[in-house]
Point group: C3
Amino acid sequence: MTPALPRDLSCPRIATRKNGGLELSRIVAGMWRMADWDMTVEQRIAFIEQCIALGVTSFDHADIYGNYGVEGLFGEALRASPSLRDRMQLISKCGIKLLSNKRPQHTIQHYDTSAAHIIASAEESLRQLHTDRLDLLLIHRPDPLMDFDEIADAFSRLKQDGKVLHFGVSNFSRHQFEALNRRIELSTNQVEFSPLHVAPMFDETFDGLQDKGVAPMIWSPLAGGRLFTSNDANAENLRLVIKDIADRLHQPFASVVFAWIMQLPSRPIPLTGSGRIEAISVAVAGTTFQLSRADWFTILRAARGHEVA
Amino acid sequence: MTPALPRDLSCPRIATRKNGGLELSRIVAGMWRMADWDMTVEQRIAFIEQCIALGVTSFDHADIYGNYGVEGLFGEALRASPSLRDRMQLISKCGIKLLSNKRPQHTIQHYDTSAAHIIASAEESLRQLHTDRLDLLLIHRPDPLMDFDEIADAFSRLKQDGKVLHFGVSNFSRHQFEALNRRIELSTNQVEFSPLHVAPMFDETFDGLQDKGVAPMIWSPLAGGRLFTSNDANAENLRLVIKDIADRLHQPFASVVFAWIMQLPSRPIPLTGSGRIEAISVAVAGTTFQLSRADWFTILRAARGHEVA
Amino acid sequence: MTPALPRDLSCPRIATRKNGGLELSRIVAGMWRMADWDMTVEQRIAFIEQCIALGVTSFDHADIYGNYGVEGLFGEALRASPSLRDRMQLISKCGIKLLSNKRPQHTIQHYDTSAAHIIASAEESLRQLHTDRLDLLLIHRPDPLMDFDEIADAFSRLKQDGKVLHFGVSNFSRHQFEALNRRIELSTNQVEFSPLHVAPMFDETFDGLQDKGVAPMIWSPLAGGRLFTSNDANAENLRLVIKDIADRLHQPFASVVFAWIMQLPSRPIPLTGSGRIEAISVAVAGTTFQLSRADWFTILRAARGHEVA
């Protein structure tokens, strides 16, 4: 019953800053759950090749994903197939210290945005990913102890050493983004957004990024699957509304969600979370059409449970 | 029992931007409900003449008022009495698409801030109002899909063509106002405010406008009549407090409310909502006196139900 | 059981603006409750001498403290021992009008940030404190009627006349601080903060001040004693957590709280509230050590009742 995807599907590219700088694929492949996919090295290489063939050339990591394990799994693929590296953009994050058997010295889950930790974490990401550079490094969470000057200084040193080419943040409020962006050019703010989590559209996050010409990256664009499974009355109604529009447009359900997100003027760059190339293709299909304003607001109304004023 | 108004009542004028630009009357006549006033063309002309004689020369419209009908009613008066136009300032708004028998193509109430819609809506306002220019055009509501650059571009084209002289917004938060104001000079942000709705005084709205030297316009300064009628205990107490002050000052109740609002350092410009010239005179009378700080805070305390800290 | 303090305890100094300007002691002696201390003039002089000997040279006042009485008590000491003045920094505040037998003309508690009141209040503070200058004058609370230009103008005149050397605000939100700071250089924003009141760390207050390089002053760093006495389950757990860390570090409980606060990158300057030199010494001891990030976040987790994300 799911509509067939176009055969020649090809993900476009996007400059994260309107006036140049880092270019990513319009859909970014999130590696968050890679440790759960139970892939052999060969399967990982094949999956990465399929993503790249689809135009999805940007891969999103964090030091902590998969209990500090995902970067290493991905790096094994890059080591086994070195030509992949120059055909992709690698994104990672730092700044959270997890309780983990891999980090026995951590006695409590906390943040560390000291220059020493940022640089050590980025260097460890390079080792794990088996590469000499990250295309983009993000501070994972705003840290009450973060010193804007110190972070900017750490970023500058990583850039000078050629270890990281671009910088950004994740889960920052607008004013935190701007305080750091005044000290060093930031390429994105990666935040949670979906029809079930619309806050960044109404607080200052998206408006602030649009104002600066900086594209947000979006994690959990499908609300971690809750869009498909939640029994909440509001979510169930939202599901019916999206399904109606998808059926009328002959598009897959998730493609409509990705299109709805990407239609925002801040130019959001959604992440996928799946290890199935079909799921990633459905996201890419969301780049091939636009919703009418009436359809777009029909989804917003269902998402919020009320009309606009 | 209502105190007599001064015979020589004359509404002063105000520059919406401290350093020049658009000049409005200190009290603006809101036409929102004109369709309910059941006036003949002659009565409309007479009412407009009375307003102007009182110094209330600015008239507030929106494309959607009266089910897309008010501008046309007002325009009939301007057509029948063409000399009125040059003695007044015309304000209108765009950006909301209502469900309406006049707009059968609208399938859901939504916003449209595309350049095409802004320009088409402004041009339709000119036709309806039977004029060649608007003095001020506002975006009616902040739109999640608004592209600041595109709106600024549409405004610039309308200005270049002489169709609209000044621009602004309505119901925008401070950061949205500033994002657009960075792209094109805005003359106002028209927001809801009254002793029963004091939010703009405590969020960043009024402080932000004062900071930029831009005067807000105020809709529903009398809380849509609830100041007179609400049975809510807080509103009833507020009514008694305002009445005591009004009696002591020998001023009409509503004049005290208008004076209380206009005393704010952001220089708010209140709208009236009535078709009775007496009601508009009472608003104008609020420009003739100031409250003591003690009286001003007595009303604030009653409005909030607690003392300042 | 309380650990002994170092014998050579000496409070360091801090520039409230990163690039110079006003210098205060890292711990400021709050005089808020001085009227309750029942000290003779000789005792007041002795207490002030002890503070200065400890390096605590900055004394925080407000016109209204002790029912408009504290400045006068402190001024008696300065008159009796004139050499004290040049060895200290005097801070005061204005802008609140209290109901008081000392101010029979006040009919309601309210704010007054008119230039006339600011200047008159500062001049009265000089008379009461028996001095010719204040080192720092703060607007006590944000006033809905405050006119940023008028306040800046009043400050400029006080500075020109040599009556006040530096200016700041208290209890201002970030955007209010910045609006006034754009008109005249502000040296601080004195706000409430403690492990039981962490709001300024998560709203824009501290981030905004860090961004500008301006140090906040902190009132009620021990939550007005509730850190020691509250029976609230969350506060009781927080107390245990702080006590564990204090015991392990061989530091007094309150020293750990002061250290926890001062570790923030905005460089907060805490006030004391006690008339006992021992209590002030414990605050100063908080300048002699740093918490590990793990300990710092352990206190934050207990303060909020949940882990960081």
